[in-house]
């Protein structure tokens, strides 16, 4: 095979094919592209699109089945010894040693990369300043928050001054503030001339990149700058505003409209993407109310991505269809299905949650947001009975989890971020087990399992080991296991972490459907577009509830002349920073 002359790109792949096992579709399917020095290129795609395989091939860790790879005009497989110092690769779970301190981790990686003497002193100083970890050098890596871990991982990758950085989903599990910092760091590196690849399943992250490759099924389905890709969508993105009807119901109907390819909830509005410019959906069919109007809005990268993948169709949740409407006993206040009364948790001197109160009404989706380590998880854990409050009460349907845990727990469903399933058991065994511990048996159990298997399309996988399921199916199974006993309350802890946009749409279709049936839902998330699905949000910071309200309320709190139309992320960051300023003002008084 003739290798054409180099085009001057820092990284280049041609006709790249990678097959892991005969019979399986290739992870990379004749992929040709190049990446330029001094840019951040976003690799975006659903789970299994081939992002990690591409990064690992570029890092010289995977031999391609076919095709050529050039890194800095060298072959990573024959000239790997030289390239090792030039290429920094940060895998999804960077190998930090959790029992070593921040400094010890840096020393270890410096030793491995042969960074010694003055060089080491200088780069440590630089890295610690750069990552703002100087205050935490003695802290064990295992005790760092998600964002700090990623920053430390990046610092370790940067030792030895590589010229190419391959970052595999560095933003997963990182809150918006830490993500912004991480981004600022990487942006600085790009301006020094590094070639950076940043893979992500999140499109808002990719919008910040200089260049984007949308990947699907082992190939690139679109490339260009985010602006180019978004401009192709101009005129196709609309808000359905001034709704009279329930926005979730409007969304469900909108997704049935043949002109609509995608739809999400955004604040009080429903945001839709239409098939062609100028062919508008039928507002009457959406039953959006007499005042409803269509307002054109700016496209997002996510719109380009979803529409390239063929869009999302049908807003009906098969799960909601088999769920009976929730009827609460008359004794329960429908305004306070879940209630926190002065909820407080102290770990020794440290107060993780400080007198947090809120009420969640029937059929409401209530979001808990907050930076990593702000007390959001502690609050959430107390609400579902995993932690006992030091002070205050966690009430679920009027029952105190402290005193009648079993009775209260029978009414709640819980889905954790890592899809807590028994990976060694088959899909069917998991379903039988989880329904069994909630007291389902005999015919009733069989029927319920049958219903959910049909609703989630799990029939072909019943005898499959859970560990072998694709991520999207694992998520479906986890949700199925959580709702088997028809809980009136559903707790979701970062339920879509690491899941691609298409799967997330499907997931939220189910959640919206359940909420419409009257299931009360409490959710934690790091992703601002998910926060938009919530009816109300409580923002937790330093253990305190610093803001609460609808997504639009929260955005309204941060409107300034400079920023007239803040996003959810703007609101999040501004409210947290404002809380910091108020605290400092108090301290200095």
């Amino acid at each position: 095979m003739n290798i054409p002359p180099s085009t001057g790109a820092a990284l280049e792949v041609r006709g790249l094919v990678k097959t892991f096992a005969p019979g399986l579709p290739p992870a990379l399917d004749h992929l040709t592209t190049s990446f330029h020095a001094g840019t951040i290129t976003g690799l975006v795609g659903p789970d299994g699109a081939g992002k990690t395989t591409l990064l690992r091939t570029l890092a010289g860790l995977l031999q391609p089945t076919e095709g050529s790879v050039r890194v800095l005009d060298m072959d990573p497989f024959t000239q790997g010894d030289f390239l090792r110092d030039q290429v920094g690769y940060m895998p999804q779970k960077f190998g930090l040693y959790e029992d070593l301190s921040v400094l010890e981790n840096l020393v270890l990686y410096a030793d491995l990369r042969n960074v010694t003497g003055e060089d080491r002193e200088r780069s440590f100083k630089q890295m610690l300043a750069f990552t703002d970890l100087a205050r935490f050098t003695d802290r064990l890596a295992g005790k760092l928050s998600g964002g700090m871990k990623q920053k430390l991982g990046l610092a370790c990758t940067l030792l030895g001054s590589p010229r190419v950085l391959l970052l595999d989903e560095p933003g997963v599990g990182v809150d918006p503030i830490s993500r912004r910092e991480l981004w600022r760091m990487v942006r600085g590196l790009a301006s020094e001339g590094l070639t950076i690849l940043w893979s992500t399943a999140y499109l808002d992250e990719a919008e910040l990149c200089d260049d984007v490759r949308l990947m699907n099924k082992g190939n690139i389905i679109a490339s260009g700058t985010p602006k180019e890709l978004m401009d192709q969508m101009r005129g196709r993105c609309l808000h359905v505003a001034n709704l009279k009807a329930q926005r979730r119901e409007v969304l469900r109907k909108a997704l049935h409209d043949p002109e609509v390819v995608d739809g999400v909830i955004q604040g009080a509005n429903v945001r839709v993407v239409i098939r062609e410019v100028g062919r508008f959906p039928d507002l009457a069919a959406m039953e959006a109310g007499p005042d409803a109007v269509l307002v054109e809005v700016d496209p997002r990268l996510e719109d380009a991505f979803i529409s390239r993948l063929g869009g999302v169709h049908g807003g009906d949740s098969a799960l909601a269809a088999v769920t009976k409407p929730v009827e609460l006993p008359a004794s329960i206040d429908p305004e306070a299905v879940i209630e926190a009364r002065g909820l407080t948790k102290r770990f020794g001197e440290f107060t993780a949650t400080d007198h947090v109160s809120f009420k969640v009404s029937k059929g409401e989706i209530f979001g808990l947001l907050g930076p990593n380590g702000a007390g959001k998880s502690t609050t959430f854990k107390m609400k579902c009975g995993l932690l006992k409050p030091t002070e205050g009460q966690a009430l679920v349907m009027g029952l105190d989890l402290k005193f009648s845990p079993s009775e209260a727990r029978q009414r709640l469903g819980y889905m954790a971020q890592k899809f807590s399933l028994y990976l060694g058991l088959t899909v069917e065994q998991n379903l039988v087990f989880f329904s069994g511990i909630y007291g389902l048996d005999g015919q009733q159990q069989k029927e319920k399992i049958h219903e959910l298997v049909e609703a989630f399309g799990l029939r072909p996988f019943l005898q499959t080991k859970t560990v072998d399921l694709a991520l999207g199916f694992k998520q479906r199974l986890a949700l199925a296991c959580a709702v088997m006993h028809e809980p009136q309350i559903l707790f979701l802890d970062e339920p879509t972490s690491g899941v691609d946009p298409v799967t997330r749409r499907e997931f939220w279709t189910h959640i919206n459907g359940l909420a419409q049936k009257g299931v009360t839902i409490m959710v934690t998330t790091h992703f601002m577009d998910e926060a938009e699905y919530c009816d109300r949000i409580a923002l937790i910071y330093r253990g305190k509830r610093i803001a609460m309200g609808t997504p639009d309320d929260l955005k309204g709190m941060v409107v300034t002349p400079d920023c007239s139309n803040p996003t959810m992320e703007d609101a999040f960051i501004e409210l947290v920073l404002r809380a910091d300023r108020e605290r400092e003002a108090k301290v200095s008084q």
């Binding site: 009975g385 932690l387 727990r409 954790a416 028994y422 065994q429 087990f433 069994g436 909630y438 048996d441």
Partner: protein, 364 residues
Amino acid sequence: MLKRLFRLIVKELQVTAGDKKARLMLLVPVLLQIVIFPWAATLEVKNSTIAVYNQDGGPASIEILQRLTHTPAFERIIAVHSDGALQDSIDSQQALLALRLPADLSRNLQAGRPATVQILIDGRHSNSGQIASGYVSQILQATRSEHGVRPTSIVNIRNLFNQNLNFKWHIVPSLVAIITTIGCLTVTALSVAREREEGTFDQLLVSPLTPGYIMAGKAIPGVLVALGQAGLIVLAAIFGYGLPFTGSILTLLMAIIFYGLALAGIGLFISSISANQQQAFLGVFSFMAPAVLLSGFVSPIENMPTVFQWIAWMNPLSYFIPLAKGLFLKGFGFADAWPFLWPMLVIATCTLSISLSLFRRHIA
């Protein structure tokens, strides 16, 4: 609630023995140990070499040499002809033992006078050397008495329960205890840690199951695994090694269950203080090694310092090993077994209640 407990147990068994790999993990170590332990962990001395410098050459020395030839302990007898060669045979590890028969040996014995014989032992193998020298002393004693030298007293040894002092009879019943310890601890200690790592533990805690049920759901499969593994070893002992089983089967079952419960309590205790499988694994090992050493398996408990004896009393293995031996060899019935059964039950109650309270506190 019992149905839910049943589900927990079924799940646990599916996880521990659900696929081929998991089943192999449970079986292969047991089979390996059944094969290796009885042959390797033997204190008998066989097939060793003795060097003899016979300066005497009289009837008594010939008698001694012939007796040595017929002892299974010594396969080879090297004849040496100088003190130097005698010493060299030990130094160069050619012989485990060296024997010098002085020139006046036969003369002294015939005259009814005490005779002196020198035995050199290779101190590098102090244990087997001492055992071998014991054999030699017996031979010397016998020779002496046959030559009419009257010993101060005559001791006739008859071994009860294991007449031929077959070492395997001693080892295999102890194995029932030791091997099941590993199986049962792994199921209880490691599986909770694994659930914690995979996040499924939280999923159990938010369910209506109480900590007691969750614990029972771990302890019972542990006992079942102990029963299965112990059963396998008992069968291997009877049919593979030809051990007699003279006691009551029902009592054996009861003993395994009590022992399994005591272990499950320890396993759950380890699991409630460890954050991940790695720590739980270390916990299991830091329990296993001292538990075996302090059980009387290696050396008698009575020989240990007092403090260690107290610890040994709290060790369920100290009761299960003698009980297993009793059931195999001594024809133990329930009444004989009771003094060993109730301490295990007490230990089980203690360990299980401690881990239950730790479990509860962990959730708080």
